[in-house]
């Protein structure tokens, strides 16, 4: 189905949401604040997955960019002693974008299952390198990320500063994402899913559209990974493991592809469910997720966001 056009009240809702999230730390514990920040940062990666999902392409390897961004920060702080976020974040984003450009050239000719498998394989390559090359990456121990500074200053409450940093950057990513989805390239990506022949007969290239989307997707995922590195204070190879990619795909599907906000909402829901489920019933949280995913697949393919818009559209 055609993605719903941006509802006129959405930008207002977004501003309200931004304001609400901004004042939350006053009322909530440090742990909850951390969870929200973590969820938002990961939400950027999920948005990256969604950009491709719109074209019918499932990336089962987006953990690659998540890990690249995280380890970029990891190396910068751990090996070079540079904890400055204003250096680390742009660096992580640029490196991710460059890798995405290179790998995108390979991936852009693939579709469906093959795209999924190749993206999976590429992320697993990074995983195997991170695991085994101890001197290079710290192996399974990973790297600690310490000495976070922002504009040269080491904050007294790093968690709080990071929270606002994540909030601002996530808002920026959402803005870029919104413009992307409404742009000709964004619509062309949807077209890729429906009819590539027609695209060629318009003089455009499906592969080039995919490449463009992939680069933007990789960049914002790398940024998400970098933010998580600062938040958590540690990076390890699991970030690149296929299960990590699976989580991003899960949230993308759960939230739906209907809007730029869906990944964030889905991500927050996911982190909170995971957090509490792990605490109270560690042997059933994956089961719960699995059941949720099945319900979405069978009954509500547009995800939670599709459900929300359907509910809103009902009174006519």
């Amino acid at each position: 189905m055609s993605e719903p056009e941006t509802h006129p009240s959405l930008p207002l809702a977004a501003i309200v949401a931004f304001a609400v999230i901004a004042i939350l730390p006053l009322f909530l514990s440090d742990w909850i604040t951390f969870l929200i920040a973590l969820a938002l940062a990961k939400g950027a990666v999920v948005l990256g997955v969604v950009l491709l999902l719109r074209g019918g392409l499932i990336s089962f390897g987006h953990a690659l960019y998540f890990a690249i961004g995280a380890y970029a920060v990891g190396f910068l702080t751990n090996r070079f002693g540079i904890g400055e976020a204003l250096v680390g974040l742009p660096l992580a984003t640029i490196i991710s974008a460059l890798v995405a450009a290179a790998l995108g050239l390979l991936l852009m000719r693939f579709r469906g299952i093959y795209f999924a498998m190749l993206s999976l394989a590429l992320s697993m390559i990074l995983y195997t390198v991170l695991i085994k090359f101890y001197d290079f990456s710290g192996g399974t121990d990973g790297l600690s990320v310490r000495g976070f500074t922002l504009a040269g200053a080491a904050p007294a409450h790093p968690g709080l500063v990071q929270y606002y940093l994540v909030l601002v950057l996530t808002a920026a990513v959402v803005y870029v994402g919104a413009r992307f989805l409404a742009s000709p390239l964004g619509y062309l990506m949807q077209a890729v899913r429906y009819n590539e022949i027609r695209i060629e007969y318009l003089g455009a290239s499906a592969s080039h559209a995919i490449l463009g989307s992939y680069v933007v997707s990789g960049a914002i995922s790398g940024l998400g990974g970098a933010l998580v590195a600062y938040l958590v204070g540690h990076v390890s190879p699991e970030l690149a493991f296929w299960v990590s990619s699976g989580d991003f795909v899960f949230v993308a599907v759960l939230g739906g592809t209907g809007s730029v906000f869906a990944p964030l909402i889905g991500s927050i829901a996911f982190e909170f469910v995971k957090n509490y489920a792990l605490k109270f019933s560690p042997n059933t949280w994956q089961l719960t997720l699995g059941v949720f995913l099945l319900v979405v697949i069978y009954f509500q393919p547009q995800g939670l966001w599709g459900l929300l818009t359907r509910l809103r559209a009902r009174p006519r």
Binding site: I58, Y114, A116, M124, V243, V249, N283, Q286, L287, V291
Partner: protein
């Protein structure tokens, strides 16, 4: 120490271990056009059930050949019960949809089964070394190897031959081949496609469970054991070609030898070579070494 026999034998045993799981995945994809992420969980369930049977029925010492029969029985039970159940209840609804939907569905099943295993068997590892001890050590080319992996190789070869026989010399096999080549045409020719789907998935499940059951004596049976297997199996079917069992066999051998060589010569890249090979093959021939490619007509 002559490493060539080590590489060969280590490679073949690794390949045998992988073959049972990957043959199942590729076979299921050929028939149902679904890439089954939950196959790793089925492998794990086979291992857990096999361990349970041995611990229940083979006594404390876990003596004798009966243990092998129990493993085979466990795999059969999984194949005959869990296979049809999953196919009927969960997969049947998504046939004909985008293949990506199938992938997501089996991913959901994987999540569910991973917890089902924890709920049923707990999180402590199970150890069933009886069968492993049964085969002691074997000397090949002057080097001592554990004997049990050779059994695994025999089981894999037998399974492969059985599969080959079933596909080429039984009516079920002919019908399956028909469905693999053209689902719609098969239905039009009067083949009971839903029944073939069910039996094919059951057979694939049996193979995965067989792999798991016969692996149980070799390692501790614990939660998450399916997680690494599945992605290795994906590498193999990517290399061999989705839907091709011969491709899976060849893919397993290539991956097995490559990994074994890495372990001996350059241990850091042991896992790297597997995925590097997968990428290399996918870039060169997206459909894998033996897969078939489909074109769209206007």
């Amino acid at each position: 120490m002559n490493i060539l026999p080590i590489i060969l034998i280590d490679g073949i045993t690794f390949a045998s271990w992988l073959f049972l799981v990957s043959a199942g995945i590729t076979f299921i994809f050929g028939v149902l056009r679904i890439l089954n992420v939950a196959h790793g969980s089925l492998y794990a369930i086979g291992a857990y059930l096999g361990a349970t049977f041995i611990l229940q029925f083979a006594g404390r010492e876990q003596h004798g050949w009966i243990t092998l029969l129990l493993l085979l029985l466990a795999a059969t039970v999984v194949g005959l019960t869990l296979g049809p159940l999953i196919e009927r209840l969960f997969l049947r609804r998504v046939y004909g949809e985008d293949e990506v939907i199938g992938l997501l569905t089996t991913f959901a099943l994987f999540l569910i089964l991973e917890d089902v295993v924890r709920l049923i068997w707990g999180i402590e590892p199970y150890l069933v070394e009886g069968p492993f001890r049964l085969f002691g050590r074997v000397r090949v080319a002057g080097i001592a190897f554990a004997g049990y992996p050779f059994l695994l190789t025999i089981v894999a070869i037998l399974a492969g031959l059985l599969l080959w026989f079933v596909i080429h010399h039984t009516s079920f096999g002919r019908e399956v081949t028909c469905v693999i080549n053209d689902r719609e045409m098969a239905g039009a020719l009067g083949i009971n496609v839903p029944r073939i789907d069910l039996m094919a998935f059951a057979l694939g499940t049996f193979l995965a469970a067989l792999g798991g059951a016969f692996t149980a004596p070799m390692m501790s049976v614990e939660p998450g054991m399916g997680v690494s297997v599945i992605v290795l199996a994906f590498a193999v079917v990517g290399i061999g070609g989705l839907g091709s069992i011969g491709g899976a066999a060849l893919g397993c051998i290539i991956v097995g030898i490559a990994r074994a060589s890495a372990v001996q010569l350059f241990p850091e890249i042991e896992l790297f070579v597997i995925y590097a090979l997968m990428v290399a093959v996918l870039l060169w021939r997206p459909q894998g070494l033996f897969g078939a490619i489909e074109l769209r007509k206007i």
